[in-house]
Each structure stands twice: as C-alpha cells, then as structure tokens.
C-alpha cells in the first residue's frame, strides 16, 4: 500500500481540486450534531466530528426514491439518484457499515439501486477520536483494511494518507506536488503513539463474542417484555443504524393532473398507466414505484394482507432486531452486524440500545427508568 504525508493546510486545496471531478459530500455541523451534506463552501466542512446523525447509507440509497416510472407499456427503471460522488470524512465504523451493506445487496440478486451509487462514490475516510458512546474497538471496526479509496489519519499537524484503491491513486495524481512520500522513523513513532492513545480512550466496551449464545439462551427471558413495554416503536434505532437495510415499496398514483404538470417528477411528460371513468369522462393516471426506508420495529412490519401479523408485539420486533445484529449475522458472516458507531445510544429516547440490551443479556438488572418513562408517556 502507498502511504503519503499531507500537511494540514493542503487538505482543503486538495479537496477543492478533486471536487471538480464529482460532487463532494462531507460532514457539516447541524446544531450540536453533524450530518453528511453536499459541500458548496469548504468552510462548512466539520473536521473533528463524532458520528453524523444519519450514516452514509443515506447517500447510497436515499430515504425515499423512485425505482420505476410506470407507463401503459410497463415498468421503466429510474436510476436518477445515481451520480458521481466523493464522500469525505467518513469514519472507520461507517466504512465497515458500508462493507456490511455491500455483502447483503450484492448477494444472490445484486441490487443496482444500491450497488450503482456505491460504485460511483469515492470513499475518503478520516480517522477520529472516540467519545463516551463509541465502542468500535469492541466490534473490531476501529481499523479499516479495505472499503476506502483514501484514508486520512490525523496526526495533529499533518495527515498520513493511505491509498486503498487505484481510483484513490488517481485522485492523488490530480495534485501530486502537495503529497510527500518520504516517511521517516519519527512519522512511524507518531502514528504508533496516536494509535495507542486512541485505543486507550474507549470507555464503552462490549463482549460481542458471547452474544450469539446469550441471545439463544435468553430467547424467552422476561426482560424482552419489559424492553417491549418501554419501546416507543418509533423506528429511530433502525433509521440511524449504518447496517440496517430494510425498505418498503409503495406505488404512487398521480390522479387528475395533466402530463405536463408532471414533467419535473418524471423527467418529461409521462404517459398514462390507465384511465378512471368518472362523471367528466376519462381521467388518466400516472404511476411511480417508490422505495423508502422501513423499520422492523414498526407495527406493520410483518403484517400480511388479510390482517395476519407475525410480529404483533413490540418485544417480538425488538428481539428480531437484536437477533439480526448480534446473532444471525454472526452465523452467516462470522461477526456482528453492529459496527460500534454508538448512534442507537444517542438516538433512542428510552435508552434501548446495543449497550443496554447486551448488558441485560449478560444478566444486568434493567434500569427501572424504561418502565417509568413508558408509563409517563401513556399517562
């Protein structure tokens, strides 16, 4: 692997050069939080960020997008969300999140709606420093070996730039003069010191190795009911999770509008799917097939037509989520599908998260806080 040095002052000029090639996305401040946004002005880029509100999956598969325009002849695919992008400032946990999604979307029937934008997005990773909610050291996702084009390790006055792909190398060649490939012994020592200090800074630790067994043993444990009572079934944990992929598909009908009024939606005046007969004659209608994020904690997640619901209780749906994260993925791929980003820890309003649930699985008494809060909410 090629490793180069880049002085801090040269980072933004470099980003400016490469952003001429594709849209640049990076974290920007949103109140006291951060979010990935398309960068118009380089001063917006937030450097020493913790986790963003939403993981970078939102850049690959938007929370809602059109899969097909429906015409009277059938389905015409719409891949307008696929564009060339450069994603800067993505941390190692989120790179692992994308690698996890890659496996799912590429297996069996490759999904072009995820894989195409993924292929067209350059990943420029950035090292980070854990806060009290980070536990990526426990999931072994604090280091990255693949899944990036360039990775910037922040060593205070300069960056070590790891080149992970041929495309990453191409980016370097757009501004070769600002990079220094002369790594000294002092640089190596600085890196070792940075890494050991960073590794010592983790305050949250979870033993994931025994979780598959504990999930199995606790299948009927009463705490699932308690957690289920407290859960608000809001779906926030799944929205912010970098490895959650579930989605719903709904067909959208446009009724009683002229084709020309829909030009911006369809990228041209659409043809009618069919006609409804009503008092004024025939009303044409137009259709789209919309895919949007879904959540396994929502009540209708496992409901089928006719009203049968295979997971009516919140406890059953929560257990499914934790089975998937801590057990099922392990049996398929040998590691949990949790990347230790800590988003569920900072997002869940009733503190049901990987940290508290794994603690409960290990036999820790669940905080009465959950029950109390749910009672207050229902009062």
């Amino acid at each position: 692997m090629r490793i180069l040095k880049l002085q801090k002052k040269d980072l933004f000029p470099f980003l400016e050069v490469i952003s001429k090639e594709a849209d640049l996305w990076a974290p920007v401040a949103k109140g006291d939080k951060f979010a990935f946004e398309r960068i118009q002005n380089f001063s917006e880029i937030a450097m020493n960020t913790t986790r963003t509100i939403l993981p970078p999956k939102k850049i690959m598969v938007p929370s809602s997008f059109n899969m097909f325009n429906v015409t009277e002849k059938g389905y015409k695919e719409d891949l307008s969300h696929v564009t060339q992008r450069i994603l800067f400032g993505i941390h190692s946990c989120d790179i692992h999140g994308l690698l996890t999604l890659d496996k799912l979307f590429a297996q069996a029937y490759p999904d072009p709606y995820y894989l195409e934008p993924r292929k067209k997005t350059l990943i420029l990773g950035l090292s980070c420093w854990p806060d009290e909610h980070c536990f990526c050291k426990s999931t072994n996702t604090h280091i990255v070996e693949e899944g990036y084009d360039l990775y910037f390790t922040d060593l205070k006055s300069y960056f070590l730039v790891w080149i992970g792909s041929s495309r990453g190398d191409d980016l370097i060649r757009l501004a070769p003069d600002i990079f220094d490939d002369n790594l000294t012994e002092k640089d190596i020592q600085t890196y070792i010191q940075w890494q050991s200090e960073r590794d010592k800074s983790f305050t949250t630790e979870i033993n994931f190795t025994r979780m598959p067994d504990l999930m199995e043993l606790n299948y009927k444990a009463p705490f699932w009911e308690e957690v289920g009572t407290a859960c608000l079934a809001c779906g926030s944990c799944t929205m912010v999770c970098p490895t959650c992929n579930c989605y719903d598909v709904v067909d959208k009908q446009y009724l009683g509008v002229k084709p020309t009024q829909l030009t911006t939606v369809f990228g041209g005046p659409p043809k009618a799917v069919g006609y409804f007969v009503n008092c004024v004659g025939l009303t044409p209608f137009f259709g789209q097939r919309i895919r949007h994020w879904d959540s396994c904690t929502l009540p209708e997640y496992s409901e089928v037509a006719g009203g049968e619901n295979f997971r009516e209780k919140k406890s059953e749906r929560l257990r499914l989520w934790y089975t998937h994260k801590l057990q099922a993925y392990v049996s398929k791929y040998g590691k949990p599908s949790c990347v230790g980003c800590g988003r569920c820890l900072v997002t869940c309003p009733v503190q049901i998260n990987v940290k508290s649930v794994t603690a409960a699985l290990e036999g820790e008494k669940i905080e009465a806080f959950w029950k109390r809060l749910s009672q207050e909410v229902t009062k």
Partner: protein
C-alpha cells in the same frame, strides 16, 4: 441516465416483465383463478420453476405482492395463480379483465425438493387456500405419476362453496392410483357427500403409511399447522420429511427488503418451503 444503463436494466432483478391475464374466473366468492403469460413468448417458455416457488405480481400503478404459483412446471408456457381478495393489490387485480397487462418477475424461493421426493410416497395435507401452492406439486406428481410412489391428498375447507378446484378433486377421487379424502368444517348445503369435520378428522381414513419412505406436504391457515403436525408425528413421519410452505410479508422477493426475515434466514431465499425440524430449530416460523 436511463439510456446509459441499458445493460443494467436487463439485469435489474426488480423489473417486472410485461405479462397478460389470459383467463380469469371466480373459484369462490373471494378467490379468483388467474392464468397469466409473459407477453414475450420466448420468456414465457424460458420461465423455469419448481413446484412451491412463488412470483411477484405487479398491478400497474397500484403495487406488487408475492403469490405462490399454482400451475405445474410440467405444463410450460402459462402460469396460474389462485388469489384471495385481501388487500390493495388483490383488490385491484380482481378488477382486471382478461387481456389486461400486469407485471411479473420470478420465480423465487426454494420450492419443494421434488428430486428428493421422487420414488417416495407423498401425503398432501391442505387447508383452505393452501391448495394454491400445493396444487403445483400435486399436478407435478400426477404428470410424472410413474416417478412417485403412493400419492394421497387430504383436503379440508370451511364449507363446500369454499373448496377451490372442487371438481378437480372429485375427479381425482375416481383415479385408482391416488387416494383423495375431502372434508368440510360445516355443510351448509345439505348435499355434501364427503366427510364433515376439520382436516385432521381425515387422518383415520388414510391407508397405513410407510413412514420413512413418506414425505408430508402441508399448507393452510396458520392455526392448522399445530394440529396437522401432531397427526403426522403420530404417524412417525420424520421431522425433516414434513414440509410446509409459509406466508410472510415480502416487498422484494430477493433477500433485500428484510420483511420476511426469521432468525438468520429470509423466507424469500431460504423458504417458503420449510421442514418441521426448521420450525423447531428457528422457533418463529409458525
């Protein structure tokens, strides 16, 4: 964008292929029969599937839903579905007339292990609309009658009017190479000549089975499985030779949308056919 991705459009697993409803009629008040064929005749003939697999059917502008295929691959070209009116998609489907355009993609799922089942005896236990997926394997075994051992069908439905393909089953009763027992929960016509009672009351009529040489196939409403499986276990049929086909919410059919997940498997990829051992092992199947 669309123009540049032509090759991609061909590999997009979500693209419904245009198909036409060739024939449709009511089987009961709320169940309709649909015969569907791909508009492209080459595709229609190239569509290879196994009994027990399912397809995703799209109603243009309304939505998409999974349906088990009721026809047999031994009669290629046309696909058949038995569909109950239950939700948005099926309501729209019921309004469509013959020659209407629909979208179709598939086949998906594992299907029944018909190769494994060859030369073995088969007991098919059907409750109500469970006849839809099991019709495929029944017709398949009849079309290849010499490749299977004994074939027995136990079919229970609520009332005589709700028994789908009633005439087909009465005709089967006449065949010497097949055992067929029919039952209704209640006879409101006064003309029912067969058994009255739930499907499990048919088990005493079943001729003695060669347990280790028998595959039992079960499909019906969720409430039925517990009681039918109890009877099959009494007959000593091995747990991994009791096969059932299950229903789940599905939005993709190809293991992406997550809705049909159970434990570490997806019903759409690893199912919808499961053994009784799977049910014990994974706990949330039935």
């Amino acid at each position: 964008m669309n123009g540049q991705n032509k090759s991609l459009a061909e590999t997009n697993p979500f693209t419904p292929e245009p198909a036409r409803i060739i024939r449709t009629y009511h089987l009961t008040d709320d169940v309709k029969f649909f015969q569907v064929r791909f508009v492209d005749m080459d595709k229609a003939l190239a569509f290879k599937y196994k009994p027990g697999q399912f397809a995703m059917l799209s109603i243009l502008g309304t939505g998409e839903a999974p349906f088990s295929i009721s026809s047999t691959p031994s009669r290629p070209g046309l696909l058949e579905f038995c569909i109950r009116r239950a939700g948005t998609v099926t309501n729209a489907l019921f309004r469509l007339q013959e020659n209407s355009l629909v979208g179709l993609r598939g086949p998906y799922g594992n299907g029944f292990p018909v190769e494994e089942m060859k030369s073995k005896d088969i007991v098919i236990v059907v409750g109500g609309l469970g006849a839809a997926p099991l019709r495929s394997v029944l017709l398949y075994s009849l079309d290849n009658r010499d490749q299977f051992g004994r074939v027995a069908v136990l079919y229970g439905s609520k009332r005589p009017a709700e028994m789908i393909f009633r005439e087909e089953y009465f005709a089967l009763k006449q065949r010497p190479d097949l055992e067929c027992h029919l039952a209704v929960d209640a006879d409101d016509t006064g003309k029912w000549t067969e058994n009255v009672g739930v499907v499990t009351t048919l088990f005493p009529h079943l001729k003695k089975v060669d347990t280790h040489n028998t595959y039992a196939l079960v499909c019906g409403p969720p409430v039925m499985y517990k009681y039918v499986i109890r009877e099959l276990i009494k007959l000593n049929i091995p747990k991994n030779q009791i096969l059932m086909t299950l229903e789940r919410r599905m939005k993709c059919g190809v293991g992406k949308c997550g809705h049909c997940a159970i434990d570490y498997i997806y019903t759409c990829l690893d199912g919808p056919v499961f053994t009784y051992w799977d049910v014990i092992h994974m706990r949330e199947l039935i």
